[in-house]
Amino acid sequence: MRSKSWFWLMGLVLILGISGSPAFAHHGWGGQGTENFELTGKVEKGVSLAGPHATMQVKDKNGQVWDITLAPPARTDSAGLKESTIPVGATVTIRGKRNTDPKKFEIKTERVTYAGKNFDVYPDRL
């Protein structure tokens, strides 16, 4: 290939590379704090194993509803946490990392404790 063609091709790759680089909060752990965070409250919306990540919602004692991001569905399921495991209204403790944005009430979860049982969705992080 001639050098002019290479120039165009590399320019295009560069543009796509820059436009694709994640310069902001990642769906992984990048947008979360590094301190361990614990929340105890009542299940507002039960575990859902649909979508890219399993989710649930927990209401704390002040009435604030928190978005609980769990692991991907298969990992959450294999940690023993099924959609039917924890009933709505049950008291649970969430351990994980809070979103770095203080306006977002979201926790990316490592462990869910319910009725004395631990569901470790990220056991290697505990």
């Binding site: 295009l12 796509l16 436009s19 694709g20 994640p22 909060a25 649909a50 569905p73 298969a74 399921d77």
Partner: protein, 161 residues
Amino acid sequence: MYDVLAWLETSWLGHAMRSGGVWTYGVVNLIHIAGVATLFGCVLVLDLRLLGLWKAIPLHAIKVPTVPMAKAGFIVAAVSGSGLLAATATEYAGNPFILIKFPAIGLALLNVALVHRHPAWTAPATHAPHGDAPRALRIAAGLSLICWGTALAAGRMIGYW
């Protein structure tokens, strides 16, 4: 916007995506990526040929594999993508990348429709088989890369919002 997403989430497709087991989303996501890769790969090759690369290869010889494969890739991506969106549609309300991605796809498809009606595109294969593509097609190829590239980038970024 929210109403449309809520309708999609409660549709049969949304229910099917959520009730199909823990691997459903991942597998549909895989199919979506395969569709997008097929579509974008073909678009890239065809548009770069129109922009002046590989001039020794007749344009027609590039069109023959890339156009039908791009169509197939688009259909696979659109069907699987509808499923991904329907699974948790309301969670994407207010996601700015959705508002970039879908208009970009709309413009890209408009560009496709215009190109396919253009005499320079519909001309027989024997007409100007080698060398530079007509100016109108070169411009369309540039617009195509911008639109599809934007759709690709915005689509990937949806999950990082």
